[in-house]
Amino acid sequence: MIFLLFLLLFIIGAPIYSLIAGMTLTSYSEAEIPLVVIILEFFNMSNIPMLLALPLFTLTGYLLAKSEAPKRLIYFSSTFFKLIPNNLIFLSLFLAIFFGAITGSSGITIIAFGSLVYSLLNDRFSDNYLYGFITTSGGLGLLFAPSLPMILYAIIAEIPVYDFFRFAIIPGMVLIVIFYLHSIFLSKGSIQNRDLNIKAPKNNKNIAMWLEVFLPIAVVITIYNGLLAITEIAAFAVLYIFIVEFFISKDLKKEDLIIAVQESMTLVGAIFIILGLSLASTNLIIDQQIPQLIFEYMSQVVGSKFSFFVFLIIFLLLIGAILDIYSAIIIVLPILLPLASLYEVNSIHLGILFILLMEIGFITPPIGLNLFIASNKFQKSITQIYISTIPFFAILLLFVLLVAYFPALFLLPH
């Protein structure tokens, strides 16, 4: 009954946060947990170490997109990488994967680079393709070092983390190639790089271009030297881009700053309120041991390695739809590992499937977080975003099936 009410409110367009809040309030009272715990969990958001990276990368992305940086990047990429077909897709994939890997969050990547990637590519691809591409591609980074979900997985599964990184390189690269080829098929017009009307940037703008190109390189240097932690990189990225766009290229003016802050923080706020309330609902899911219940129910039907993978995929897609990747690893992995070892599934193989399936969970309707983020970012209806991600959902799922049933193709021999 109450579920129907929520469904109705969802359909007529009540904010998602209000629905999560409503569901949390009712289910806490049913489980006889004091309702104040909802706010306690909400406040616990302030303990998440990666919290800071989200607003700072968001602001960096807004400043970059508001300036003429996209034009300069297009110029740069088509001048210096002339020979690579679809080099802009290449650049976009690089940005997405790179930031996905260092932030451990594909959501941050959508926010930070969504607009930039969109403006890089929008005259070569349909909007639908781009929304799907942007919503999905950040997740590819989670398979590359120093992805935090992979580290967490390795610690809990007790496998050497560097082996895990090493083994994930091939499936990660294959997936990138698939995305790249897919883009070549779908790009409008010729594969050859277009002649651009964009003139070479002059003077200060030329310096700005080189500084913008240098940012990812600077990030790599500082992070692998131990000079900066990831949240510190986020702060420096803001400072760096602020200086480049306000003082060197002078694309942006003082008034633009407050507008950029206001717009980007509106987006950050819309996401954080959902995040905080999801923490509260996650707490209930843990308290009631719901993953264990699903697991017990489903593990009864598993009888072979073959059916184990079917089970695994369905189970993790369900989990991915209700939990974020970190909670999922902490809660689900310990109950999954014994069953996996029963069917002699190696933990690295399982880990790669786990990360991939969680990534698919981010784009699974009705409550995949990346769908919400993209919908808000592009101010498009969530249904349009759902539809745009279907081909990518299919690609990822097919890939998961391949990795599950033909691991020899993707995993190095031990």
């Binding site: 050497p160 983390v161 992070i223 932690a229 707490n283 843990i286 308290d287 310990p334 109950i335």
Partner: protein
Amino acid sequence: GQNTEFKIATLAPEGSAWMQRFSTAADEIYEQTDGRVSIRYYAGGVMGDENQVLQKMRFGQLNGGMFTASGLIQRYAGLNNYTIPFLFRDAEEVNNVRERYDQILIDQLGDAGLKSFGLITGGYAYVFSKEPIENLQQLSSLRVWSPEGDPISFSALENLDLSPIEMPISDVLLGLQTGLVDIVSATTSAALILQWHTIVRYMVDLPILYTIGTLVIDNRAFNRLSPQDQLIVATHLNNASLDLDALAESDHQQALNVLSQFGLQITSIDQNSLDQWYDRVDEGIDQISLNRNIDTESLESIYSFLNEYRAQ
């Protein structure tokens, strides 16, 4: 009467020695109370860090938890005195102090509203490093990890003129890899679980601090039981705690063997450095006891007890 279920959370992973032993205790309790009392564990930190568990206990979502000393500071700081770096110099001192003070600390925990079922050590924490360490001077140029939200460790490290870098435990592996920190410390079993051995190559053969933990149940929940049931629960949980407390030394040896197989080398620090170090600890102890997170009274008591013992 009514059946009671205790919901108890812990950072200890599912399948660890702690979880196995306490699960057995739970089964025994369930049986002997004819199902009147059952315990549901939430292992592996799924209920959040120790502060979050304490908060959830306050509101009654959880009834208890297995805590480390520093995790209990919010409710009771006395237990944390055992874990002050270099407080103890050998196992003999530990045994003497614990014989005298364990019950006092348990009673004080009770006054703070938490029923403890005995203290359990996790063994000693050691220093791990990428470069071999043989004396004190070497340390001054290195960055030492300090657990986030543990002000005692931080000020103790500062007292030794070291350079603590605060960082959550989840970031340490990456921090070691990138060089954000050079030196970390933990028990050998923890170092193994957290995979630090993949990066650090050396361990200093010097126990720097003694770790302690306990399983507690909120008095409000525990006192709801009938006196007979309270006795059954206490007996089985106390026995489990005793068993686990005795396990630390063999755990350490086992972990050390595995670490050595991975190529970990053990260095020792020269006696001269060590003496200097202990002097500095003695000088700094007043400073530390001023910290608001330290139960000054019981620290001073333990410290003077130790001094008397050393004078003998």
